[in-house]
Symmetry: C2
């Protein structure tokens, strides 16, 4: 039953040998790896506006373009910086690998922690933003936004447990659709305003009043908010091994195209916002308002824009679903997280990581009630922290490796490191009270946790390791077994256990704890009919604590054992086919087995007796 359900939901199992399946070309790699970066522009412009509008009112649109220009400059630096990472790390240059390789264990773990937080936040943010695109188009769905977001998380979880990676075409199409339709919108909007001078009047009238002046702090805040547009750039350098050969060349090509796309779409959308003087509102996204302005309410193109926006945001969330489980599997192999994160599931994916991501992001959606804006401050700090660590790692890498024109290369990565570090500080400082402090607390906590887990694994490994000659540990002489068989009544289950205990051919003791003299007498009479030479040892339990006395007795017997001797406790256990029937039976034998297993020289033998239906 369970296996069948699993195979319907997840598909057939995949063999380990099929691991190296489809790799992608530059054409299909671009949409898959860029969905996160391209999609962030769907909300980055809005975030910048949300900072500027309350202070500057209608005067916000010129600074918006300035902030957009600064973000594009930062993007350019990142692209050149990351092209070099791709050159050096053909096996995939995630921040964790680069930082721990070049900066050491602690910076590596900091990068891993901030990346993990980002992956979880990406899912929550993208799914919430995708939901916002849906509710902008269909306002009637607004009360159900949390459920819609959770449904999307569930869909992504199931899809990834099945292994969505196979269907790269299925993934690429929505991204291209989004890019094409947004570019159509940008061009149509520009034509409308610049050539036909067709700007709707009512939007300008609705602008809030100016309440303050332009200040450096305000610009920094706006810049910090807009930097969410740059998340997802790292995905390409992470994914180098997934490209067709020549992998590195393809990856670098994709990175460049990605930058051009982000540039076009982000600058285009910010320009349109400025031209149409769109005001962000809580129930409709800025992109939705733009589309209404450009194409008119209820037009087909409006719905195309909303639909493709939703799709690409869900695709962006999907980036995390391949990223976090991958990162966790690397961390698991290095013993920094639970080892089960390195286990591949039925469909060859890291199912435990997928499930963890699903639970955590669903939790965030519920806690923040599907409100993207509240999640964003948490988001960018970690992204830029990992950028900084990775780029700093690259600088040290060049210093160590040297090689052709290494100083030149080190300078490029150095510029990347410095600018991302400055951005990180700006975001942390300006967004501190808005929630960035949460991330700054979470990162050290996660790092300490990972160190503790590593320590535990090291400890267990040291305990289990065979250091001396393994052959010498195998006993050459035979040891006669000491066997203890508890008895509470003479029934078929006991007799089965007794037969097994007799077959072990050791010193057998049959032991009874008496809570009621009349019951014990009946038992002894029944036992007498078995005709055994072993006598029953009876102990009185005036306080009715049968298990406690049995454990004391086992402890006493264990103390008397000689070298290499083990005490074998034979426990009859009857098995009831329907699990819920177990409520009707004493769970004492289960608890008893659990406590007996914590004794060094006590072996527990479970003899099943199956109750027929």
């Amino acid at each position: 039953m369970r296996a069948k359900l699993r195979s319907v939901l997840l598909g057939k199992a995949i063999k380990s040998a099929e691991s190296e399946s489809q790799k992608y070309s530059a054409f299909w790699g671009l949409p898959i790896l860029s969905s996160d970066a391209v999609s962030s522009v769907a909300y980055a412009g809005e975030e910048v506006l949300l900072v500027l509008i309350p202070v500057l009112g209608a005067a916000s649109y010129k600074p918006l373009l300035g902030v957009a220009a600064a973000i594009v400059a930062l993007l350019t630096i990142l692209v050149f910086s990351y092209r070099q990472t791709i050159d050096c790390y053909p096996q995939g240059g995630g921040s964790y690998s680069v930082a721990s390789d070049n900066l050491g264990r602690l910076p590596g773990l900091v990068a891993a922690a901030s990346l993990s937080i980002d992956y979880v936040l990406t899912v929550a943010v993208s799914v919430s933003a995708g939901t916002a695109a849906v509710t902008s188009a269909v306002p009637g769905l607004l009360p159900f936004k949390v459920y819609i977001a959770l449904l999307l998380v569930a869909f992504l979880t199931l899809g990834n447990l099945r292994g969505l990676r196979e269907s790269s075409i299925l993934f690429g199409v929505p991204t291209y659709l989004f890019i094409v339709s947004v570019i159509v919108m940008i061009l149509a909007g520009l034509v409308k305003v610049l050539i036909f001078h067709d700007v709707p009047a009512q939007t300008a009238a609705m602008l809030p009043r100016e309440t303050g002046g332009l200040s450096v702090l305000l610009l920094l805040k706006a810049f910090a908010s807009g930097c969410t547009a740059l998340t997802g750039v790292e995905a390409v350098s992470n994914g180098v091994p997934n490209f067709k050969n020549p992998a590195q060349k393809n990856a670098k090509k994709v990175l460049l195209l990605l930058a051009l796309l982000v540039l076009t779409v982000f600058v285009g959308i910010c320009t349109l916002i400025a031209l149409y003087q769109v005001v962000p509102g809580s129930s409709e996204t800025v992109v939705s308002k733009l589309a209404t302005n450009v194409f008119g309410t209820g037009s087909v193109m409006y719905y195309v824009i909303q639909a493709t926006t939703t799709l690409i945001l869900v695709m962006a969330a999907n980036t995390s679903f391949s990223g976090l489980p991958q990162l966790l599997s690397i961390l698991a192999r290095d013993s920094y997280v639970a080892r089960s994160f390195a286990d591949r599931g039925l469909r060859l994916n890291y199912s435990n990581g997928i499930l963890l991501l699903s639970v955590l992001s669903a939790g965030l959606v519920v806690i923040f009630q599907g409100d993207t804006h509240h999640l964003l401050p948490l988001y960018a700090v970690g992204v830029f922290l990992s950028f900084t660590l990775s780029q700093t790692g690259m600088v040290l890498h060049w210093r160590k490796v040297r090689g052709e024109r290494w100083k030149h290369k080190a300078v490029i990565n150095g510029i990347g490191a410095v600018t991302t570090a400055v951005t990180c500080v700006i975001i942390a400082a300006t967004k501190f009270i808005n929630g960035a402090w949460i991330v700054l607390i979470c990162i050290p906590v996660l790092v300490l946790l990972m160190l503790a887990i590593r320590k535990h694994y090291d400890h267990v490994r040291a305990n289990l390791a065979v250091t001396q000659d393994a052959g010498a540990l195998v006993l050459s002489h035979s040891v006669k077994a000491k066997i203890l068989l508890p008895i509470q009544s003479v029934n078929k289950s006991f007799i089965k256990a007794l037969n097994y205990a007799l077959s072990l051919d050791g010193d057998l003791e049959i032991y009874h704890v008496s809570t009621d003299a009349s019951v014990t007498e009946k038992l002894l009479n029944q036992y007498a009919t078995l005709g055994l030479k072993e006598k029953i040892v009876v102990e009185e339990a005036p306080y009715r604590n049968v298990n406690e006395l049995l454990i004391h007795h086992v402890d006493a017997m264990e103390k008397k054992l000689g070298a290499h001797e083990m005490l074998t406790v034979v426990l009859p256990q009857f098995i009831i086919p329907k699990w819920w029937h177990n409520i009707l039976h004493n769970q004492t034998s289960i608890r008893l087995r659990a406590s007996l297993l914590h004794r060094r020289n006590v072996v527990v033998v479970s003899i099943p007796y199956i109750i027929n239906e």
Copy 2:
């Protein structure tokens, strides 16, 4: 740690031999057994008024006295009827025993089911009513009434787990205090009105208008509501064995006194209500209003009345805490409920029954938000159903046993049976939509459940019973063991298991499931250093389903076993002292053991390897 906490909370363990400890005299038995009955008058009058006032308005007070008279008449019949039950059942004549003895299994179970429901409802109702007395005196506590009620349930649970029965004096005093202070209030109230003609004017003015006329249906409804005053009468006949000798004589004396007390208090309170024309309101109880009228707001006697009312209502709840666990233990011995309800705890009480009652009544308090009135319709149906069954059982008892003046006795019980049956029908009919239907559904469901549980126990007993000559079942010849030892890596835990497996002296097979060829090669090299003659059987797992393949292999080996042969699977298990560290380790061995235990001829041996701290 845990044992210490337990002993602080619950006291020291009590020996089984001390079971027959303090029994009570008539003087202390009266307050203990009557608390339920006497306390119900604290809300019964109010319930009658709540039915009458909305229809009759100020004209309600004469019918109130009529209804009270009918209830007193019913009480008189019950007392004579139950005196005869005491005579016949010196071992305690609960409805379950009397009905199943004389009417058969099904009526007995119906009585048991309705009694069980009543016990749970008694706790919820009494605790809610006690809370209402507190919030009437201190209205500021009204928003916390659910928490206060839950606190009282917790207090009763803890008290009963400790075994409150010992402290009969502690229990008797509040009841006597209540009786004395209520009688003082009744006398003072009567004197004030009848001699000094001192009735507060404003209360009469606040009376609602008459909206309808007096009808038979209205009177029946009022009667049904007031019958809650009669619950708890059965407690005396249940508790006969707890009396000092002559037990039956003492019990009958107590039953008579109880009836006199209920009569005095109930009639007195109803008279006062009529004289003062008290109107029931949601935030203050009728008794509280009476006390205000008689003694004045904020007087000492007012608070004495409220405090003793609270105390006696809590005591009434306590009746259930000895009643339900006792009933469940009898049902458990007859295999109609889980056997663990017959286990005596540390302090000799039936702790599982106490805990069940606590959870269920707390649940009801939360669901009904501590509102007594909503719970009452659920309450009385079951009580009168069990009265009827018990009295009908007594009639059949006399017919069967005959003896001196049996016809006379049968007539008395017959009158009891008929009147309680009529009352039961009245309550069920008039209160049907108010919630009585819930009880009428719960009773058959509980009966079916109890029958199913009995069937299961009978089935298990038949499966385990040794029917033929037990000695013949013990094998006379020795069987060579087949042993399977799975290996995933060569470590100290495996070597410990290996040594044990070798000591068993059977056919040992060492079995490895390979998910990764390089890991397997390393393993085989390490294994070679052990210098064993047993070769490792290696199976490939292209789908990484190690446990599944192992279980298939065990199944295949089990099929090849000869008669009386068992397959012993030796499972190394490493034990980590801190339980939460287990999250970091695969739980596969635990799941594996659980599935292997469901195979008839497979014995599972667990070899512990304890990881040092």
